[in-house]
Amino acid sequence: MKRIKKILIANRGEIAIRVMRTCREMGIETVAIYSEADRTSLHVRYAHEAYYVGKAPSNESYLNIEKVIEVAKTARVDAIHPGYGFLSENSTFAKRCNEEGIRFIGPAPEVIEQMGDKIEARRAMTKAGVPVVPGMNGNIESEKEVFDVIAKLGLPVMIKASAGGGGKGMRLVNNEGEILPAARAARSEAMTAFNDDAIYIEKYIASPHHIEFQILADEHGNTIHLFERECSIQRRHQKLIEETPSPLMTPELRKEMGEFAVKAAKAVNYTGAGTIEFLVDDDLNFYFLEMNTRLQVEHPITERVTGIDLVKQQIIVAQGGKLQFKQEDLVQEGHAIECRIYAENADNDFLPSAGKIYKISQPLGLGVRTDGYVYEGYEIPIYYDPMISKLIVWGNTREEAISRMRRALYEYKITGVKTSIKYLERVMLCEDFVTGNYNTHFIEKNKEALSPLPAYDKINEDMVIISAFIDYADKLNRHQNSKEFAPVQSRWKKFTYTNNF
C-alpha cells in the first residue's frame, strides 16, 4: 500500500474544493487545473498548485485528456480525482491514468465502460439477479423491432439512448402515434449528445421514485452500502433536492434494496465509491436503473447521517487500503436534506442566470453545511453548470431537518444573479414535501403551490422605497456636493451609533 501524497483534481467548482478539503485534512497536496474562464475561480486559490489547461469550453480544457495527463506528470502527482461530470466516467481517461502510473480515483476502466453502456449494465444486472426495468437487453436494430418490443411490453414505454445520461436522448411514448417520431428523435439526440445513436426500450414506470444506494468497495473484497438517498425532486431530469432516509422507505425494503445494491456492485467487481440508482413505484417494486461510477453531487447527505467522509474512503481505497467500516457498524443517524443552489430563474422555466455575484450571506449555525465555490465579485462563467452551491442540513427528525432547512434558506442570500433559493423555500413549505408524499412528478404536480406568492405588505414595500430613496439621495450628494441632504452615506461603517428617538 503506497500512501498518496499529491492529488490532481480534474474538475472545477464546488466539487474540486470539496475534494481538496479532504486532501488537506489528510495531509495530501493538491493540484488544480483551470480553463481560461476559471483563473479567478476559488479552486485555483484553494489548491497548492494550479495549472492552465486550455480555453473556456470544456472540450478544450477540462475534457482534454492528454493535457490533463501532461499537467499530472509535470506536477508529479500520485493520483487524479475526477470529481463528478467532465472525465469522471470516461474509461479512456481512467485507462490513460493507469498507463502513466497515476492512480485514477475510481473503479477500473472496464467497469466504467461496462456501466456506461446502459445495455451492458442491464445485462450484467440481469445476470446477477438484480431486478431491472422490464425491457430490452440489447439495442434496437430496426424500426420494425421498435414496434415488436413495444407490442410485447405494452405502452407506455421509455425510449432511451444506450450511451445516455442526464435525460438526453430519452423519450416517453404514451400512444401508438408517438412511437416512430419518438424513436427517431431519441436516436438523433443521442447522436448529437454522445456521438452514438444506439437506443433501447424500457417499460415506463408510472409515478416513480428515484432512490439510489451509496456503495463503497475496496480491493480486498469488502463491499458495503451506506443506505439510500431519495432523489425524486427533479426539474428537467436534474435533481434539485435530495434527502436521506427516504420518506418512502421501510426497514425491510431498505435491507432488501441495500443487499441488491451490494450484489450489483460485486457483480462487476466494483471498487471505490459508486451509486446504484433504482426506480421504485408506488407499490414499492424496485428496478435497477443505472450505476454511477463516481461520487454523486448529493453525497454529503450520506456523509451527514453516517458520519463517513466519502472522499476520504475513496482515497483510502485508491491507496489499496481497506474500508474502515463494516456493514454492521453503519447506522443512519437522524435526517439530512440537500438543496442545490442553482444560478437560475426558477420562476421562468429554470432558465440559467449567469452574471456577477454581488453579495453573499452564508447560512451558519447548528446542523448546517454549505459546499459552494462562488464569492463576492465572482463572475459565473457561461460555459459550465449553473449549480453554485449545495446547502445540506441535518436534524434529529425529518421535521426538524425541514424547519432547519427553512431557517438556513432564509439566512442564505446571494444577490447579483437569480438563484433557486426562494423557490426552494417554497418547496420546504409545500404540503406534499412536508408530508413526504411525493415522487418524480412533484415539481409538475405542485406548479401552483410553488409559484411566487403575491403577498403584498405595504410597509415592507415602503421600506424598500425609502432605501432606494436614501441611496439615490446619497449619490446625488456625492455628485453635486450640495447641502440639501446631509449625507447618511456609509455612516454604518464609519460612525458609531449616536441617536435614538
Binding site: A343, E344, L351, P352, S353, A354, G355, Y358, K359, I380, I382, Y383, Y384, D385, P386, Y410, K413, T415, G416, K422, A455, I459, N460, E461, D462, M463, V464, I465, I466, S467, A468, F469, I470, D471, Y472, A473, K475, E484, F485, A486, V488, Q489, S490, R491, W492, K493, Y497, T498, N499, N500, F501
Partner: protein
Amino acid sequence: MSVEIKIMDRIAKVEIINQQGNLLEIQVDDTIYKVDIMHTADGTFSIIQNGHSYNIELVPGDHPKRYTAHTLYNMYDLEVIDAESRYMLSRGSGAMTTKGNTISSPMPGKVIKITVSEGDEIKQGNTAIIISAMKMESEYKSPKDGIVKRIHINEGDTIDENQVLIEVE
C-alpha cells in the same frame, strides 16, 4: 427634496420631512414614517420602524437610477424618476425606452444559431436566435411581426447581458 420611485406598477412619491442623524421622518405617498436607518456604502440597509427590524439589500442595476432590492421574502425592481428621467422620458430616450423593437440578451451566453437573415420577414414569437449558457440552450423570439432590420452578432459570438442582438422593424 421629493422624488418619485417606480416599484412594479406603483409610482410612489417620497419626501423627507425631518432628519436627525440616522433618524428620519419621511413621507411615502400619504404615510409618514419615523425610521431609524443605517446603511453601508454598498447597499445593505437596516431599518427599524416602530420596533420592527427590516433588512434590505440594494443591488445596483444597469442604470444608476435602477435597483434590484432584496428583502427577506421578496425581490423588487425599482427606478428613481427625477426631473432628469422625466426629461429623458419626454424625449423618448434614456432609461425608460421600451425595447419593443429589439431582441436583447437577458443574460450572458454564446450564440449557437441564428435562424434569420437581415431583410427576412419574421412573425411575433418566432425563434430568431439560439443562445447557449450553462449547458442549456434557450430560444430567443421576435417581439413582433416585422422585418429583420439588423443582426448585431454572429454565430459563435460570446454575448453580454442586455446586449442588443437583433433589431426588428
